[in-house]
Symmetry: C2
Subunit: 78 residues, 2 copies
Amino acid sequence: MKVRIHVSLKPGVLDPQGRAVHHALEGLGYEGVNDVRIGRLVELDVADDTSDAALEAMCEELLANMVIENYRIEKVQP
Amino acid sequence: MKVRIHVSLKPGVLDPQGRAVHHALEGLGYEGVNDVRIGRLVELDVADDTSDAALEAMCEELLANMVIENYRIEKVQP
Protein backbone atom coordinates (compact mmCIF):
# COMPACT_ATOMS: atom_id res chain seq x y z
CA MET A 1 0.00 0.00 0.00
CA LYS A 2 1.35 3.41 -0.96
CA VAL A 3 0.87 6.18 1.56
CA ARG A 4 1.82 9.84 1.21
CA ILE A 5 2.50 11.85 4.35
CA HIS A 6 2.31 15.62 3.88
CA VAL A 7 4.27 17.42 6.59
CA SER A 8 3.92 21.21 6.74
CA LEU A 9 4.84 23.90 9.23
CA LYS A 10 2.05 25.07 11.52
CA PRO A 11 0.63 28.52 10.75
CA GLY A 12 2.66 31.20 12.46
CA VAL A 13 5.90 29.24 12.49
CA LEU A 14 8.62 31.17 10.66
CA ASP A 15 9.71 29.51 7.40
CA PRO A 16 13.08 30.89 6.26
CA GLN A 17 13.33 28.35 3.43
CA GLY A 18 9.95 29.49 2.09
CA ARG A 19 11.01 33.13 2.33
CA ALA A 20 14.18 32.39 0.39
CA VAL A 21 12.22 30.65 -2.36
CA HIS A 22 9.69 33.51 -2.44
CA HIS A 23 12.52 36.01 -2.80
CA ALA A 24 14.14 33.92 -5.54
CA LEU A 25 10.85 33.68 -7.51
CA GLU A 26 10.51 37.46 -7.37
CA GLY A 27 14.13 37.84 -8.44
CA LEU A 28 13.43 35.63 -11.46
CA GLY A 29 10.56 37.92 -12.47
CA TYR A 30 7.53 35.87 -11.44
CA GLU A 31 4.76 38.17 -10.30
CA GLY A 32 1.69 37.52 -8.21
CA VAL A 33 3.31 35.19 -5.69
CA ASN A 34 1.96 36.15 -2.25
CA ASP A 35 3.39 33.45 -0.04
CA VAL A 36 5.57 30.35 -0.19
CA ARG A 37 5.85 27.66 2.45
CA ILE A 38 7.99 24.55 2.19
CA GLY A 39 7.10 21.20 3.69
CA ARG A 40 8.07 17.57 3.30
CA LEU A 41 6.45 14.78 1.36
CA VAL A 42 7.16 11.30 2.73
CA GLU A 43 6.14 8.47 0.39
CA LEU A 44 5.84 5.17 2.22
CA ASP A 45 5.34 1.72 0.75
CA VAL A 46 3.88 -0.28 3.64
CA ALA A 47 2.24 -3.69 4.11
CA ASP A 48 -1.47 -3.68 3.22
CA ASP A 49 -2.48 -4.57 6.78
CA THR A 50 -0.76 -1.52 8.31
CA SER A 51 -3.30 0.20 10.56
CA ASP A 52 -4.11 3.90 10.58
CA ALA A 53 -2.98 3.97 14.21
CA ALA A 54 0.46 2.65 13.21
CA LEU A 55 0.78 5.30 10.49
CA GLU A 56 -0.20 8.04 12.94
CA ALA A 57 2.32 6.72 15.46
CA MET A 58 5.09 6.82 12.80
CA CYS A 59 4.22 10.43 12.04
CA GLU A 60 4.11 11.54 15.64
CA GLU A 61 7.20 9.66 16.74
CA LEU A 62 9.52 10.28 13.79
CA LEU A 63 8.21 11.84 10.60
CA ALA A 64 6.81 15.11 11.95
CA ASN A 65 7.89 17.40 14.76
CA MET A 66 4.53 17.90 16.44
CA VAL A 67 5.67 21.08 18.18
CA ILE A 68 6.00 23.02 14.93
CA GLU A 69 4.56 20.78 12.19
CA ASN A 70 1.24 19.29 11.11
CA TYR A 71 0.88 16.12 9.08
CA ARG A 72 -1.77 14.70 6.79
CA ILE A 73 -1.97 11.05 5.76
CA GLU A 74 -3.14 10.28 2.22
CA LYS A 75 -3.59 6.72 1.03
CA VAL A 76 -2.83 6.38 -2.67
CA GLN A 77 -5.23 4.15 -4.59
CA PRO A 78 -3.34 1.56 -6.60
CA MET B 1 -5.22 30.75 -5.27
CA LYS B 2 -3.48 28.06 -3.26
CA VAL B 3 -1.29 25.66 -5.21
CA ARG B 4 0.62 22.66 -3.90
CA ILE B 5 3.69 21.50 -5.78
CA HIS B 6 4.77 17.93 -5.01
CA VAL B 7 8.43 17.42 -5.83
CA SER B 8 9.75 13.85 -5.65
CA LEU B 9 12.89 12.08 -6.78
CA LYS B 10 12.67 10.22 -10.09
CA PRO B 11 12.55 6.42 -9.83
CA GLY B 12 16.05 4.98 -9.70
CA VAL B 13 17.63 8.04 -8.11
CA LEU B 14 19.28 7.11 -4.81
CA ASP B 15 17.53 8.62 -1.77
CA PRO B 16 19.85 8.53 1.27
CA GLN B 17 17.40 10.57 3.38
CA GLY B 18 14.65 8.05 2.64
CA ARG B 19 16.97 5.17 3.52
CA ALA B 20 17.85 6.81 6.84
CA VAL B 21 14.15 7.28 7.70
CA HIS B 22 13.41 3.68 6.65
CA HIS B 23 16.21 2.44 8.91
CA ALA B 24 14.97 4.61 11.80
CA LEU B 25 11.39 3.32 11.45
CA GLU B 26 12.71 -0.26 11.62
CA GLY B 27 14.83 0.64 14.64
CA LEU B 28 11.73 2.00 16.37
CA GLY B 29 9.99 -1.34 15.83
CA TYR B 30 7.60 -0.49 12.97
CA GLU B 31 7.17 -3.53 10.76
CA GLY B 32 5.89 -3.87 7.23
CA VAL B 33 7.61 -0.77 5.84
CA ASN B 34 8.98 -1.72 2.41
CA ASP B 35 10.25 1.59 1.11
CA VAL B 36 10.52 5.24 2.08
CA ARG B 37 11.19 8.16 -0.25
CA ILE B 38 11.36 11.78 0.79
CA GLY B 39 10.28 14.68 -1.37
CA ARG B 40 9.33 18.33 -0.97
CA LEU B 41 5.96 19.98 -0.70
CA VAL B 42 5.89 23.61 -1.86
CA GLU B 43 2.72 25.49 -0.93
CA LEU B 44 2.26 28.61 -3.02
CA ASP B 45 -0.29 31.36 -2.59
CA VAL B 46 -0.46 33.00 -6.01
CA ALA B 47 -2.69 35.51 -7.78
CA ASP B 48 -5.86 33.94 -9.20
CA ASP B 49 -4.87 34.82 -12.76
CA THR B 50 -1.58 32.92 -12.62
CA SER B 51 -1.43 30.66 -15.66
CA ASP B 52 -0.56 26.96 -15.66
CA ALA B 53 2.37 27.81 -17.92
CA ALA B 54 3.75 30.24 -15.31
CA LEU B 55 3.44 27.58 -12.58
CA GLU B 56 5.23 25.03 -14.77
CA ALA B 57 7.97 27.54 -15.51
CA MET B 58 8.48 28.21 -11.77
CA CYS B 59 8.81 24.47 -11.16
CA GLU B 60 11.24 23.86 -14.00
CA GLU B 61 13.36 26.95 -13.35
CA LEU B 62 13.56 26.91 -9.56
CA LEU B 63 11.38 24.55 -7.53
CA ALA B 64 12.44 21.20 -8.99
CA ASN B 65 15.73 19.91 -10.35
CA MET B 66 14.47 18.35 -13.57
CA VAL B 67 17.54 16.12 -13.90
CA ILE B 68 16.66 14.07 -10.83
CA GLU B 69 13.18 15.19 -9.75
CA ASN B 70 9.60 15.10 -10.98
CA TYR B 71 6.93 17.58 -9.98
CA ARG B 72 3.16 17.54 -9.84
CA ILE B 73 1.00 20.65 -9.59
CA GLU B 74 -2.19 20.43 -7.51
CA LYS B 75 -4.58 23.35 -7.29
CA VAL B 76 -6.30 23.47 -3.91
CA GLN B 77 -10.00 24.31 -4.05
CA PRO B 78 -10.83 27.16 -1.66
